[in-house]
Amino acid sequence: MAAQFKRIQLDAYYSKYLQRGRRPDGRALDAFRKTILNVGSIRTADGSALVRLGNTTVVCGVKAELAAPRPDAPTKGYVVPNVELPAMCGPDFRPGPPAELAQVTSQLMLDVVRHSGCVSEERLCVADGELVWVLYCDVVCLAYDGNLADACVVALLAALTNTRLPAVTLDDETKRERVDADVRVPLDVLSYPVATSFAVVDERVLLADPNAEEESLATAVVTVVTLESGQLCIVHKPGGSPIALEEMERCIELSLARAKQIRQLEKETRLSLER
C-alpha cells in the first residue's frame, strides 16, 4: 500500500514524513549518509580514491603526464578534472556524450581546484617554459544515488593527497627528460576543500545530503564548499527556488561541521594505509 502511494505521489509521501522531521530512509533532515573512503587501491593510477556516500559510489583516478606549458603561463602545470556518468551508474543514464549533470559537475570540480588552491600549478612545473606536469583527475561514478558533487570532491581530494609523482628532471643540454621511476614524490596538497550539498523540498524544507529521490523532488539544490580555515570557498546555487538568509547560514554551519568529519575520515584512512 505504502509502496503504491510512493510511486503515484512521491511528493505527498515525502510530505508526510517531513512533517514529522524525518526522511523515509530514517535520517534526520540534517543528517548525512554513511561515508566510506578507500585510497590507493588502483595501482595503475598515480593516485586513486573510492568513495561511497550511501549508495552513491565514485572512483577518482589521477594520471600524471608531461607536456609543454602554455606560452602565456610558462611556469604553470595543468590540473584537468573530469566527471563521468557512464550508463552503468543509473537507469536514467545512457551511453554517449557526457550528460548535463556530468558537465556541470566537471566545471564545479575545476572551480574547486582553482579557487581553493589545493594544488599549486607552479609546483607542477618541472622546467620553466619547457616541461610541466598535467594531472588528469578523472572521477567515474559507478552508482548514482544523489549528491554527486560531494562524493566527487571527497574522491578528488583524497586521490590528489594519495598521488605520488615520479621524480623528473630536464637535462639542460640534451633537452630530454630523465625520469626516475623508483623515486616517488608525494604531491603537495595545500588546502583541503570539502563540499556539502543541500536540497530544498516543498519550497521550505532543507535536506542535507539528498539522495536521488529527494533530488528529483527538490525545487533547488545548493552546494557549499569550505576550507580548513573555516573560510567559504564556493557557494553553488544554479537557480531554483529562493533560500532565506538564515537558512543559508544554517547550511554553512552544517557544512563546516561536515567538513571536519570528512577531513578526519581522510586522515584516518591515510594513516591506516601507512601502517
Partner: protein
C-alpha cells in the same frame, strides 16, 4: 584530435613520463626455476574475488577482482528498445565495454576506442548464446562493463563479471559464461591468466 567541447581539456599533446621505458626495455617474464615472476606455474590462475549486488539501482551488478585486475558490471533490463523498431520475437542484448581512463599504464581516452568497441562485440557474441532471448520479446537487456584496473586478462574478467551480473539480474540463462585468457610466449609453451 578535435577539441572536445563537452569536457574539460588539457593541453593537446601530453605524454606519459615512462613511455620510453615501457616500450623499450626488454622484460624478464620467468624466474630461474621456470615459474612466473609472481610464483605461479604455467596453468595456475590468480586468486579471485567476486561480489554481486554492488550497484543498487541496477537490476543486476557484479564486481570481480583477479588479483589486481578489477572490473565492475551493471545490467539493466529487460527494458524497452532504445530505438523504436519493428516487432521482434527475440529480445536483444547490448554490451558496452570500457576501460576507465586510469585503468591502464598509459592513460586511455574517455571516448570508446577501436579496441574497446572490439571487446564490446566479443562480449556480445559470448554472452548472447547463454541468454534465453526468447523470454523477453520486444525488450532489450543492456550490459555495461567497466575495467577499473587492468593488470592483464581484462577481457576475461569482464566476461565473467558480465555473466555474474546477468545472473544477479535474474535474466533467464541456459548457462553461466566464464572466460580465461591464455598467452603464448614461445613456440612450445602457453601460460594461462597472463598478467
Amino acid at each position: 584530435m578535435p577539441v572536445d567541447r563537452m569536457r574539460i581539456c588539457g593541453p593537446e599533446e601530453t605524454r606519459h613520463p615512462l613511455v620510453l621505458e615501457l616500450c623499450g626495455r626488454p622484460v624478464r617474464l620467468f624466474q630461474d626455476d621456470g615459474t612466473r615472476l609472481d610464483g605461479r606455474s604455467a596453468d595456475q590462475i590468480r586468486p579471485m574475488f567476486m561480489k554481486c549486488g554492488v550497484i543498487s539501482h541496477a537490476q543486476g551488478s557484479a564486481y570481480i577482482e583477479m588479483d589486481r585486475t578489477k572490473a565492475i558490471c551493471a545490467v539493466y533490463g529487460p527494458r524497452e528498445f532504445g530505438k523504436r523498431e519493428d516487432f521482434s520475437i527475440k529480445g536483444r542484448l547490448t554490451c558496452e565495454f570500457k576501460f576507465a581512463t586510469f585503468s591502464c599504464k598509459i592513460r586511455r581516452q574517455q571516448q570508446q576506442d577501436a579496441e574497446e568497441k572490439e571487446f564490446s562485440q566479443i562480449l556480445l557474441q559470448s554472452l548472447s548464446p547463454a541468454v534465453c532471448l526468447h523470454k523477453f520479446p520486444k525488450a532489450q537487456v543492456d550490459i555495461y562493463v567497466m575495467v577499473l584496473e587492468n593488470d592483464g586478462s581484462a577481457l576475461s574478467a569482464a566476461l565473467t563479471c558480465g555473466s555474474l551480473a546477468l545472473a544477479d539480474a535474474g535474466i533467464e540463462m541456459y548457462d553461466m559464461v566464464v572466460a580465461c585468457s591464455v598467452v603464448s610466449v614461445s613456440q612450445t609453451k602457453a601460460y594461462s591468466d597472463g598478467n
